[in-house]
């Protein structure tokens, strides 16, 4: 194994560059040495500041000897990792070649070029602007149609870097949508997650950024984005439910949830119904919330956010949750903080808001004892939301008031009246005065 000193002096780097330039038949070996040396940020910086250094690499990259080409590409990949802001700009002379080679046949080489381009895109607006002018998007659109999943993953990576730019909604997303890339992105979201998960992950994050840009949800919907996200989430939920943990699967679940959640919020729900007919999405979202509760509570919360967007104002989805008996599973999540219990209460509130029959079924599923627990929590938002849900349920029937009283609910409400939060006090008082009137005076004796 060759060993390369970790930190080369400037003279040593100059010497290495010289050997690469004039090395004749030894050139490949010198390039290999250079590649290893360029793993160090300090060496990267020295190298890019040397006169002609990048031009030498560009020459080799576009030159005659294929092995030197490959090694030069590796060197550029190392340089592209440089944290230094000038590195990206320094590498610009090589980009037309990197792009040209995307349409070549050598998969490994194409991958190298893609990762280099992706790294270069990441931080620097000037680099992105140039790459866009040089036609990076159509090049990616061709590349993604290759059957090699490693290449597809690399394309997804580059695209995800491009799409995160601040100006992406204006300058990049429209080009991407027009390029025919999106159906291929969606095509990677197959419900066979263990095969090519890397590619699916990258493409899902691209989808998330595209949806967030709010440029044209309609096109994405027409291309089946909702259906794809839904099916894949169902498949992943199924996998998690059987206890088999795919390592890293959260990297795929996250962008799927986000894409679906925002697409639901962006479009009329009725219009999406054809793509949302598989009711297994509901238990899948519950499973995902439960499964990720401990390792990734933020992800659990996002799963519940999607449930909120499905149920808000929708009698179909609210009924389905009741019909599938998912309420107990939701109630189990109420003890958990970090926004989880609030989101659950939103969902329960969506259901209660639909009317009397919904409230009845919620009560039968054990909502009241659960609310009694949440009414005692410290978080004001949780308590306020609990009161909102409570008032809807109380308004639905008098038996509910009776049961609530039996559960010592009045005491809870009276305690809230002394809380510092005005919103809580108002609501608690209102309920006591208007919904539990018959109980609160008599109740004092019963307590």
């Amino acid at each position: 194994m060759d060993t390369v000193a970790n930190l080369l002096s400037r003279e040593q780097v100059v010497d290495l560059l010289h050997r690469v330039q004039h090395g004749g038949e030894e050139r490949v070996n010198h390039l290999r040495t250079l590649r290893k040396a360029l793993r160090t940020p300090e060496t990267q910086l020295i190298f890019i500041k040397l006169e002609n250094s990048i031009q030498v690499l560009a020459g080799l990259l576009s030159g005659s000897n294929a092995q030197c080409q490959l090694e030069a590409a590796h060197c550029l990949l190392e340089l592209s990792h440089s944290p230094h802001p000038s590195a990206g700009l320094a590498c610009l002379p090589t980009t037309p070649y990197l792009l040209t080679y995307l349409s070549g046949q050598s998969d490994k080489f194409t991958e190298l070029c893609l990762y280099t381009l992706g790294n270069l895109c990441a931080e620097n607006e000037a680099v992105r602007e140039k790459l866009l002018a040089q036609g990076i998007v159509p090049a990616l659109a061709s590349c993604i149609q290759r059957h090699n999943l490693a290449v597809v993953e690399a394309v997804g990576f580059v695209l995800s870097q491009l799409l995160q730019a601040k100006d992406a909604p204006v300058n990049i997303v429209p080009i991407v949508l027009a390029s025919g890339l999106t159906p291929h992105l969606l095509a990677t979201l197959q419900p066979v997650p263990q095969y090519g998960m890397g590619a699916a992950i990258e493409c899902a994050w691209c989808l998330h950024y595209l949806v967030c840009s709010n440029v044209d949800d309609g096109t994405l919907v027409v291309q089946g984005a909702v259906s794809k996200c839904s099916s894949l989430l169902i498949a992943l939920g199924g996998v998690m439910a059987t206890g088999s943990t795919e390592e890293g699967v959260e990297m795929l679940v996250w962008p799927l949830l986000r894409s679906l959640g925002n697409l639901l919020a962006g479009c009329k729900l009725e219009g999406l119904h054809p793509q949302l007919r598989d009711s297994r999405l509901l238990p899948a979202l519950c499973v995902l919330a439960q499964a990720f509760l401990q390792p990734h509570p933020a992800l659990a919360r996002e799963s519940l956010w999607v449930l909120n967007n499905l149920t808000a104002g929708s009698s179909v989805f609210c009924s389905a949750i009741l019909f599938l008996k998912l309420v107990p599973a939701l109630i189990q999540l109420l003890p958990f903080s970090k926004g989880i219990n609030c989101m659950v209460l939103q969902v329960l509130g969506n259901i209660a808001h639909q009317g009397t029959e919904y409230c009845t079924q919620l009560t039968q599923a054990g909502l009241l004892p659960a609310l009694c627990a949440t009414l005692k929590m410290a978080n004001p938002e949780v308590v306020t939301l609990s009161l909102e849900v409570l008032v809807m349920v109380l308004a639905s029937s008098s038996e509910v008031a009776e049961e609530f009283t039996k559960l010592k609910g009045l005491r809870l409400l009276e305690a809230i009246q002394y809380n510092s939060e005005g919103e809580m006090r108002l609501r608690a008082s209102y309920i006591l005065e208007h919904h539990l009137t018959s109980y609160s005076e008599a109740g004092a004796a019963a307590l």
Binding site: S64, A66, Y97, G104, G135, V137, L264, R280, N308
Partner: protein
Amino acid sequence: MLQPDLLRFLTETESTDTDILAFPVLHVDTRPKEPNLEKLASDCGDDGNEEIPSSPFNFTPQQIRLNKDHEIFEDGDIHRHFYLQDVAANTAELSETPKVSAFRCHIAGCSQLFDTLDGYEHHYSALHRHVCSGCKRSFPSDRLLDIHILEWHDSLFQVMAEKQSMYQCLVEGCDLKFKTSKERKNHLIKTHRYPPDFRFDKSKKSKRKQEKTPHHKDMSMEVSEAPGAGGVEPEHGESMELCASCEPDRQENTDPPHREPLKPRYSHKVPHTICFGQGSTRGFRGRRKKWWRTCIAGKMNWN
């Protein structure tokens, strides 16, 4: 966790049984509870359902749209960042290609030596895959090869080019065409920000030049001019050589293939060509017969 039958439903049931539209939908009798609702207090009172404008409750079912930078997304974004760092570390391992015992390229006339499979695969793709059988130049992609054949070896192209814009932009996705290659080059530089010395945009130059060192079968790729400052010193014997006879299928051109080996046609200053031994031909792509193509028989399958 979910009840067992729900789990079964999630994992096993066929899609037709899971159609949400088949589920019963409960009757909806939602009453708006917005604050400041101008509802008369004459709503019947005893069931406690009256809407009083001073109700503090304001729960409204609402779909929530979260933008990319919303704080709810922060955790996931951090994990994504770490994931990508891992990916970057893994691509560094792309570099560590296993070495094999050295072997030579099997294409006749090319005796390049390799000690890694990746190196060989790339060499093959870069130099032997998209080759013009007319002039033996090699190209990085089908598309550039096609453009080359059209512009260099198709006399009909020359005729048409006198009347209309035929020189297409090299950038994929840009459908513009130009009257001359110079105009195209200017377009590449101005609009697509390409360098003036981009190697795959050479113009036709005179082909008759001096001798070159023979023997070394190293391949050169087509270049425009030597790149500006920082040119790489050519490898020893890096030259263009003609291959020995090659047999393009159904060739109808008038240029006879060179039969004497190692008689160079180009100088250092003129773009190098790639020279191969007998590149075997596979036939045309179904285009006009005047176009020559060298296709490699049997695609190399590396998967």
